[in-house]
Structures are given as structure tokens and as C-alpha cells.
């Protein structure tokens, strides 16, 4: 699987599936603000052909629309990514078709909510088979300051990107189960006067990609990342795998954690919260149980969200 070092040291190219212009424009704005020579987006795959108008700085440019993956001409020396903006039902088949017909794809991000669990299982197999860094579904994507913006992550207006200094790489990594909270944490890191090494949202679905241990191993192996901020929720038991990782000595960097969902204890039966996975069926899946276990294993765990800013400053 690709490393963060490779993402920073090699040029990145993106194929976009689906035409969602504010998100595509935000990627071009990011590239431009980071002083890149050319847009990372090399083509948009949809039903149509021809060109679509976008801006490169203040200058109007045309991006090519493709209907067949074979028509694309990626640069063999670049890292080739895809950004899938299609609906939940089409996410699996469209990703599969692209991955099997275009060589050398290193990873991709899946934006749609409502990807069926059966499809998520197949996507997980696909990522494993092709050794991809797959992110999502229901993900806002990944951002590596100065190098790559793969999705709406960190915002879609130039003001948002400038505010959080995305052209200046730093040392804090963010891994989050929620798209909105990823951006909130990016904002918080900036408030703490620090910069990001990278950030991604695995999304709040039942079987998110990458698996939590892979996500943390990426950060652990990244020489530029000094510490990790993690946002998790009630539901699922992934956090216990994180504890195992630490106990095995495979996670040595400081990890600051916020697990939300203690409010669920007010309900007689845990309701379904905003994200698909956010429902505690067993005692272990409760936010309070996860917080306690992580704390006991030596993670830096917040009692309240308002503690995060102070603790981030100390990282």
C-alpha cells in the first residue's frame, strides 16, 4: 500500500467518477494554492463527452469528460487516484470497473452514503486484492497538505482552504469516523496554532475503509506525523483493535482520542444516531466503555469535547 511519504514525494493525479463541480473545483483550488504546476484532476468520467469549464486560479480551464476508462492517459510516474462521487448503489460497480481496467491505481475515496453492506464487503476485498488505499464509503476523503486533496474534505470554498493553511504541511494527523468532525478537527488544529501532516475520514458506515489498524499504521509509519488525533463514536468494536496494536508495540506515537455518544446512555434502548454504525448493541460498543478501555491502555482520552483544544496545543 502507498505510504504518505510516497504521496508527498511523487506527483498525484486524480480520476473523478461523477461530475460534482463544487468538489472538483475545490481540488483545483487546493492544487493552485499549494503552488502546483498543473491540476491533479486529469479527467471526469460520466455519461457525457467533451469538456467541462473550471477555474485554475483566475483563469478558466477545460477538463476532459470521459465515458470509457480506456480513454484516460494517466502519467505513468504519478500516483494515480480516483474519487468516486456516484450514488451508493453505483459505488461498487463503478469502482470495480475502473480499478480493473486502469492499471496502477494506488487508491481512492468513496463519497456516497447508503452503500449496501454487501457492497462494502466486496469493496474491502477489492482493496485488499489490488493493495489500494481505499477510503470510505460515506467519506469526505483525504487531504495531505501541499500534496493531495481527494474529496470535499477541509471545505469547498477557497476561504476555507486558506483558513486552515492547507498549503503548509505540519506534524498532526487526523483520523475520523465522521466527515463533519474531520473538518471540525482540521479547524481545531489550526486554532491550536498547529498544522496537519494529513487527515482522512473513514466515514461512519458499518465497514469503513481503511480498517482502523491500517489507518493508524499509515500514521505510525509516516516520518512527518508526530501525533495523531482520533475521533470515534459509539457502535462497533474497532477501538479495541487499536488497543491491541498499542500493546503489540506497533503504535508508539501519542494518540489523542475523543469518543462521542455518551448521550446514548440517556435512552432505554440505544437509538440509531446519525451515522449507520452509531448504535450500541452491546456493552463494549458504548462510548463510555471505549473511553475507559482506551484510557486504561494509555491513550490520551478527553472527558469532554471542550478539552480537545487545550490537549491539542500540548501535542
Amino acid at each position: 500500500m502507498i505510504s504518505l511519504k510516497q504521496i508527498r514525494n511523487t506527483n498525484n493525479q486524480i480520476i473523478v467518477l461523477g461530475n460534482h463541480s463544487p468538489i472538483i473545483q475545490s481540488i483545483l483550488d487546493f492544487d493552485y494554492l499549494c503552488g502546483q504546476k498543473k491540476p491533479s484532476v486529469i479527467g471526469i468520467m460520466g455519461n457525457g463527452r467533451g469538456k467541462a469549464k473550471y477555474f485554475w486560479g483566475r483563469q478558466e480551464i477545460l477538463l476532459t469528460l470521459f465515458s470509457q476508462p480506456q480513454e484516460l492517459q494517466p502519467d505513468a510516474k504519478s500516483n494515480l487516484w480516483f474519487l468516486n462521487l456516484l450514488s451508493g448503489r453505483r459505488t461498487l460497480t463503478s469502482s470495480h470497473d475502473l480499478i480493473t481496467s486502469v492499471k496502477n491505481i494506488v487508491g481512492g475515496s468513496l463519497f456516497a452514503e447508503n452503500v449496501p453492506e454487501v457492497h462494502a464487503q466486496a469493496l474491502s476485498d477489492l482493496a485488499q486484492k489490488h493493495d489500494l488505499l481505499l477510503i470510505g464509503s460515506a467519506s469526505v476523503g483525504m487531504v495531505v497538505p501541499g500534496s493531495l486533496k481527494l474529496g470535499p474534505i477541509a471545505g469547498i470554498t477557497p476561504e476555507q482552504l486558506i483558513n486552515v493553511k492547507l498549503s503548509e504541511p505540519g506534524t498532526l494527523a487526523i483520523i475520523s469516523a465522521s466527515g463533519g468532525m474531520t473538518n471540525e478537527l482540521i479547524n481545531l488544529v489550526s486554532q491550536a496554532g498547529k498544522n496537519l501532516s494529513f487527515a482522512f475520514s473513514t466515514g461512519g458506515d458499518r465497514f469503513p475503509q481503511p480498517e482502523i489498524t491500517i489507518a493508524f499504521t499509515l500514521a505510525e509509519n509516516d516520518p512527518q506525523t508526530a501525533a495523531i488525533i482520533y475521533y470515534g463514536e459509539l457502535g462497533g468494536t474497532e477501538e479495541y483493535e487499536l488497543i491491541k496494536l498499542k500493546q503489540q508495540g506497533k503504535l508508539t506515537k501519542p494518540v489523542l482520542v475523543h469518543i462521542s455518544g455518551t448521550v446514548a446512555d440517556l435512552f432505554a434502548q440505544s437509538p440509531q444516531f446519525g451515522h449507520a454504525k452509531a448504535k450500541a448493541e452491546t456493552e463494549l460498543e458504548k462510548a463510555s466503555a471505549k473511553r475507559q478501555a482506551l484510557k486504561a491502555a494509555g491513550f490520551l482520552v478527553t472527558e469532554k469535547f471542550s478539552d480537545l483544544l487545550k490537549l491539542t496545543k500540548q501535542l
Binding site: 451508493g88 479547524n187 475521533y231 448521550v263 434502548q269 437509538p271
Partner: protein, 382 residues
């Protein structure tokens, strides 16, 4: 891809057909008569169960076993008065306790996890240590193989048979619970089954309205009423931020005052946020609490347009501003994201002009600061 429960009646209909098992069942409500039951089943002993996705029914007295149509009719009537509305009636299968087995299938990341115990029944949790993945009974083994195919075909997420009875080589699914992936409800193989997910909790009319709105919109709109007479009313955005904000209310010791939980996300239209806000305001105005606050808050959005979504919120507030003012409701706001400057300025101006202003914070404030300020008002009141 949230998991939703389907009725036992529907689950049995699907499984018995696919597995080619003999089964007769009747889905009924409070209007059922003994004569109808008798006509459908003939002179056999029967079972009636509340069929609304509730767990541990036997222990809660929600099952009537081995009775006549007349007795079942009275059972259904009595339970209907306790607000239950959907029941399943089926033939009683005579068996002994030691014939009761346990079987469950759950979708996990790398496949389907199977759990089995030769000792099932209502006390399963007391001997959970006997439950594992080893199955020696060849009939059950064969059943599991078939169930896995059905599980994938219909996008099931979870399936539990307890008890499972095998008698004279015949399989009986005595008690069956099935959860299905709601992301698959529109896929033809599933939608053809005409499945209606059931909720073990009876929804309030406002919750029902928002569930309908959620269904008709590509954005996500969720709403749960917790305490109709609560003081802290929430109009939140983002699946994650809404949880963090609701947690904070509880962490400040106002959990009992938390009136609702909900969230909108995925860039809803102005009409969506207008209708959503209107429902919440109706509930808020009905609350008997003496000091109410409305918290309109969310994280720094990635792609949800703050100005557009706030215009819908403001429109609903505008329609109710006299009533809100009369009840001294104060509004506390925190939001960031695309067009936040414009959206927050619109909101601040409206709240000041209408005398509802609590505070308006932008993304330079920590997300939960707004909760601190809102509960401060309530503290003063106490």
C-alpha cells in the same frame, strides 16, 4: 447502511419459502376475531406474539403460547391497550426444552459470522459461554449453508433463530429475528418483497413527519423526541457534530433537560431545513418548561451550504417569532462551512431584530462553546 428490523411475519414468510419449510402464519391487529383465527388455522393449538421487533418478548409477557383462538383474541386485545399494534399468530409446535437450539448469522467485514449452541431458548444469555461457531448436527450444517445464500441474496445483516427446533429431521424456526440493510431497500430483489422496516419504539407524530421528510430527500434528516417538556432544544447538523453537542449537554448535567436529538446533513435544500425546523419549533413551543433554549449548531461543514440551509431555518423561525418571543426562548448558534459569513450574518440580524438573540458563534469558537453559553442561562434560572 443502517440496520433495520423487519417483522417476524415477513421474515418467516421469506425464509420458509426459500427453505421450502411448511409454515402458516397470520399477521393481525386489534381488530382480529376468534372466528377469523379459527377459520384460518382450523382446530389446532396456537401461539400469538407481539411482532414489533422487541427483544426478549417471552420474559416481558408479550407472547401467549399454546392457546385457543378465543384466548389469543383476548391476549391481542389486552396488549393493544398497552399500545402494541402488530401481532403474529402461528401454530404451536410441541417440543421439549432440550430440543431448543440457538443459531445466529451476522454480517461482518470479512463475511458472515455464525454462532450456534445446541442449548437455546429464552435463557440463552445465562449459558452464552456454550455458544460458538462449531456445528456438529448435519441438519443444522445444511441449514446454515442455505441460510448464507439467502442472507446475501436479500441483503440481510443479522438473523437469529432462538429457539431452532429439529424434530424428526424437520426444521422449525420457532422464533425468528431478521435485520436488513436499509441501503438495500431500493434494490429490486429486496424492494419486491415490499418490506416495511419496523421500529420497536412508537414514533411521535413529529418523529414520523421527519422520517417521511428524510425518505423523500437525498440529504439526511433525523429527529428523536426525548423529553417533550425539556428545556434544551437542538437543531443540529452533521452526524458526528450532533453527537458531540448532545453529549456536551449531558456532560454539563442537563441530560434530563435535553428535549431532542437530531441532525441534518448532506447539503439539504432550503425547503428541507425549513420543514425540519418547523417540526422542531412546534414541539418546542408545546414544551411546558419555563425557560427554553434553542441550540442551532454544527461543525465546520465540508460542503453543506451554511447560507442556504440557514435561510430555511430562518424562514421557520420567522413564522414562529411571536410565539417564541412570548415564551422568552433564546437562540444560541454556532456553525462554520461554505458561505458561513453570509449565513451567520443573516441569522444574527434576524435574531437581534426579533429579540431572540442568545449568541451567534462562527468556526473560530470551539464547537461545544455554544452549549456552555446556552446552559448558563438555564443555570441562572435554577
Amino acid at each position: 447502511m443502517a440496520r433495520v428490523r423487519i417483522s417476524e411475519f415477513q421474515a418467516k414468510k421469506i425464509l420458509t419459502k426459500e427453505l421450502n419449510l411448511p409454515w402458516q402464519g397470520l399477521q393481525v391487529d386489534s381488530r382480529i376475531t376468534a372466528a377469523t383465527i379459527e377459520a384460518f388455522f382450523g382446530p389446532v393449538e396456537l401461539v400469538a406474539k407481539v411482532d414489533q421487533g422487541i427483544k426478549k418478548r417471552a420474559k416481558q409477557g408479550l407472547v401467549s403460547i399454546r392457546n385457543t383462538p378465543g384466548v389469543l383474541r383476548s391476549f391481542v386485545k389486552a396488549k393493544s391497550q398497552q399500545k402494541f399494534s402488530q401481532f403474529l399468530i402461528e401454530p404451536f409446535v410441541p417440543h421439549t426444552a432440550n430440543q431448543e437450539q440457538y443459531l445466529s448469522l451476522e454480517r461482518v467485514r470479512d463475511g458472515i459470522k455464525v454462532l450456534y449452541s445446541p442449548h437455546g431458548g429464552v435463557e440463552i444469555e445465562d449459558h452464552w459461554q456454550q455458544v460458538n461457531s462449531t456445528i456438529s448436527d448435519p441438519i443444522v450444517k445444511k441449514l446454515v449453508a442455505k441460510l448464507k445464500t439467502i442472507f446475501d441474496k436479500y441483503y440481510f445483516s443479522f438473523l437469529e433463530i432462538n429457539p431452532l427446533v429439529v424434530k424428526d429431521e424437520q426444521i422449525y424456526l420457532l422464533d425468528l429475528a431478521v435485520e436488513i440493510d436499509d441501503a438495500a431497500l431500493n434494490i429490486p430483489v429486496v424492494s419486491n418483497l415490499q418490506i416495511e422496516p419496523i421500529s420497536p419504539i412508537k414514533l411521535s407524530s413529529s418523529e414520523e413527519q421527519i422520517a417521511k421528510l428524510d425518505k423523500s430527500s437525498p440529504a439526511s434528516l433525523k429527529y428523536r423526541l426525548l423529553n417533550p417538556n425539556g428545556s434544551v432544544w437542538m437543531l443540529l447538523s452533521g452526524g458526528g457534530a450532533s453527537l458531540v453537542l448532545a453529549d456536551e449537554v449531558a456532560d454539563f448535567g442537563f441530560g434530563q433537560e435535553l428535549a431532542n436529538y437530531g441532525e441534518y446533513s448532506g447539503n439539504p435544500t432550503m425547503q428541507d431545513t425549513y420543514l425540519y425546523t418547523r417540526v422542531i419549533l412546534t414541539d418546542l413551543l408545546k414544551s411546558k418548561s419555563h425557560q427554553k433554549v434553542l441550540v442551532i449548531a454544527g461543525g465546520v461543514a465540508n460542503f453543506t451550504d451554511v447560507a442556504k440551509t440557514f435561510q430555511g431555518v430562518i424562514k421557520a423561525l420567522e413564522e414562529n417569532k411571536q410565539a417564541l418571543k412570548k415564551q422568552d426562548v433564546l437562540v444560541f448558534v454556532r456553525r462554520g462551512g461554505p458561505n458561513q459569513k453570509q449565513g451567520l450574518a443573516l441569522m444574527a440580524r434576524f435574531l437581534k431584530d426579533s429579540g431572540l438573540y442568545g449568541t451567534v458563534l462562527d468556526s473560530s469558537a470551539v464547537l461545544t462553546e455554544v452549549i456552555k453559553l446556552a446552559v448558563k442561562i438555564l443555570r441562572k434560572e435554577q
